[in-house]
């Protein structure tokens, strides 16, 4: 999960990484109060998990608490690339002499850790990587051995940051590495890392992504996560043990296994439909889970038809069929459901479905046939509505 900037900085501070003094505010009054306690001249920063907030007007300088209040009023509630700003970070403003880039990440292809540093900071690093790859110093770190001083030197000298920033940068890098490992992070990106007018090097921004699989090692992460709002439908699905992601379309999708569900979305799209969601019931799903999955999907009034695509391995198709029939008996199912079953006990499952007395419950023999059928039904529903 991506943390908010203020959360990432709080964690980095625990690892003695220098970050600007700041406080988080949820309304303009709190922003004014925070500015007062920080000495007046502050930066007001929108807390959203998306890049490019500066360009979108989500970062503003305020010379006084009153101005901070006004700026916070403008930024709070703002929509930045689909993210609503609920909090602002108020930080003491300082002189910036230079901006650098630094990051540490899990390198999937090399199966180790990768450190990156550049004297070109404060800009989109992907663009720098395209236009001037030489400007980025890279160093691979063996996860078993951890960081050595030479790794930090290769980054600092290789990135050609100003000589006067070297000593402090060399001291910060091992601390960031310690934070990376200690937090089970998959990414720590400091963009920019700055050299201040006073000659200090600090992390002016921080993007920290933590590995959800390691939550059990970090009791405090549950609280951090509670600050992240998840849509009602997603919350409901999670409660029921379903892996659900809302999408834009009107064809509901249920499948078992992430790869098969992704593939199902693709074939529905190729057949001219727009998937309404990604929903993976996982391995070994029983009747109740299937019934719940249908309930979650149809709780969205915009869904016009549903495709259930199951390839039974540990999952038994007869139980899947029972769950679907249960949903039909239990709920007022207004939308047609196309079901394709293959694998373990598929025959038995298909028989159960064909014996069920529901007109809206339709069977399909193949994955592609099912996709065509469910898309035709969603189009027919639109024709009727329109």
């Amino acid at each position: 999960m991506d943390l908010f900037e203020y959360q990432g900085k709080e964690l980095l501070r625990k690892f003695e990484v220098p970050v600007p003094e700041g406080r988080v505010a949820g309304n303009p009054e709190e922003a004014a109060e925070a500015a007062r306690s920080l000495g007046g001249k502050v930066v007001v920063k929108a807390q959203v998990q998306v890049g490019g907030r500066g360009k979108a007007g989500g970062i503003k300088l305020a010379a006084s608490p009153d101005e901070a209040k006004k700026m916070a009023g403008q930024i709070l509630g703002m929509d930045i690339k689909g993210h609503t700003v609920k909090r602002v970070l108020i930080e003491r403003a300082g002189d910036i002499s230079s901006e650098y880039y630094f990051s540490l990440l899990v390198d999937r292809s090399a199966r180790d850790f990768l450190g990156l540093m550049s004297a070109k900071g404060g800009v989109d690093i992907e663009e720098v990587s395209e236009s001037d790859p030489e400007a980025i110093a890279r160093v691979h770190i063996d996860p078993l051995l951890g960081i050595s001083d030479f790794h930090a030197r290769e980054l600092v000298f290789g990135s050609k940051i100003e000589p006067k920033a070297r000593t402090e940068a060399l001291a910060i890098i091992p601390k960031l590495y310690k934070a990376f490992v200690g937090l089970d992070a998959s990414l720590i990106e400091v963009n920019p890392m700055v050299l201040t007018g006073e000659g200090r090097v600090i992390a002016l921004d921080a993007k920290v992504t933590i590995d959800d699989s390691a939550d059990y090692r970090h009791q405090s992460f549950a609280e951090l996560k509670s600050a992240h709002e998840i849509p009602e439908q997603e919350r409901l699905a999670k409660e029921k043990g379903l892996n659900f992601i809302k999408l834009e379309g009107d064809v509901g999708i249920i499948g078992n296994g992430a790869g098969l569900v992704m593939s199902t979305l693709d074939v529905v799209k190729a057949a001219g439909g727009e998937p309404a969601n990604f929903l993976d019931v996982g391995g070994g799903a029983g009747a109740e889970l299937l019934s719940n999955a249908l309930e979650v999907i149809t709780s969205d009034g915009g869904v016009k038809s549903v495709l259930v695509n199951i390839f039974g391995g540990i999952t038994r198709c007869d139980l899947v069929a029972e769950g679907i029939i249960d949903a039909f008996n239990r709920l007022d199912m207004k939308v047609p459901v196309v079901v394709r079953l293959d694998g373990t006990n598929a025959e038995k499952g298909r028989k159960l479905l064909s014996d069920a007395p529901h007109d809206n419950l339709l069977a399909a023999d193949t994955m592609l046939g099912a996709a065509e059928k469910v898309v035709a039904l969603s189009h027919a529903s639109h024709a009727k509505d329109g």
Partner: protein, 292 residues
């Protein structure tokens, strides 16, 4: 021949006494896999439906000659279980467990790659390995597979079954099907398996099943261009996946402009590898290549 598992496989299951472990361990045994032992600390001396349980993998190896292990323990114990098998001289470790922290895998894989014991790790978060008619180590349903000349390597589980099913229906049997798993740091990647398949005289064509996230497919395409004579047919899931959303698998995420299905398909096609638009088309391309 086949790769990784066959008639010489002697399987030890780490976590055989658990609900999932015993269910799948016994299913593998029914398929014909030589299941020789289970390991659960503290339960040594007991048995699961006739299979002896040991306290440590080392004991199991010494008593039974086990050369392959399947890891079915909870995520927080998985890295330890893998390292234990490695230390006990196991040749092939198949880790089914989902949800192992990336930090644990980074360290474990780094250690295994030092190569002292020459261990191959498949997974974690994978459906396992099956050489049809010989041995099944994992949760892939044996009944959908048929022996034959197609090697299959995939980052997914059920999607693999779908494609195997499409192949079997057209009478294209498989030498070995390998699920390498959907995690960011897998023990083995596409290139590792390409190398194995290229060296296997029985594998005449390889099907690769990739998905969004990372650049393993791009790198495999590049590698295959220079190193593979065996033809490859590919499929990539997730063309419609929105950026920034983790699509079920820990590793299935488009980050910025990186890891998209489109980029992967382009890289594969640039390397002369044909890519099916859906699982059915993959089997159709295989049919075309086999006929030609």
């Amino acid at each position: 021949m086949s790769i990784l598992v066959d008639n010489d496989t002697k399987l030890v299951v780490q976590g055989l006494t658990g609900r999932e472990g015993s269910f799948h361990g016994n299913r593998n045994k029914e398929y014909g896999t030589n299941l020789v032992a289970g390991v659960t600390p503290g339960k040594g001396g007991t048995d699961v439906d006739g299979t002896p349980i040991f306290d440590t993998v080392d004991e199991a190896v010494r008593a039974t000659g086990a050369n392959t292990s399947m890891v079915f323990v909870p995520p927080r114990f998985a890295a330890d279980a893998i390292l234990e098998s490695h230390d006990s001289g196991i040749d092939v470790i198949v880790a089914i467990t989902e949800g192992v922290p990336a930090m644990d895998m980074a360290r474990t894989v780094s250690h295994l790659r030092c190569g002292v014991n020459g261990t191959t790790l498949i997974g974690p978060n994978c459906p396992g390995v099956i050489s049809p008619g010989k041995a099944n180590v994992g949760i892939i349903p044996g009944e959908i597979c048929e022996p034959g000349p197609i090697g299959l390597v995939s980052r997914s589980g059920t999607l693999t079954y779908q494609i195997v099913h499409e192949l079997s229906q057209r009478d294209f049997g498989q030498s070995t099907c390998v699920g390498i798993g959907g995690d960011p740091i897998p023990g083995s990647n596409f290139i590792d398996l390409f190398e194995e398949f290229e060296a296997d005289p029985e594998t005449e064509l390889v099907v690769m099943v990739g998905e969004i996230g990372g650049d393993a497919e791009e790198r495999a395409a590049e590698w295959a261009k220079d190193n593979m004579d065996t033809p490859i047919v590919a499929y990539i899931a997730g063309l419609t996946a929105p950026p920034g959303k983790r699509m079920g698998h820990a590793g299935a995420i488009v980050s910025g402009s990186k890891g998209t299905a489109k980029a992967k398909i382009e890289a594969l096609e640039a390397a002369g590898i044909r890519v099916g638009k859906n699982p059915t088309e993959v089997a159709e391309i295989v049919a075309e290549l086999r006929a030609g």
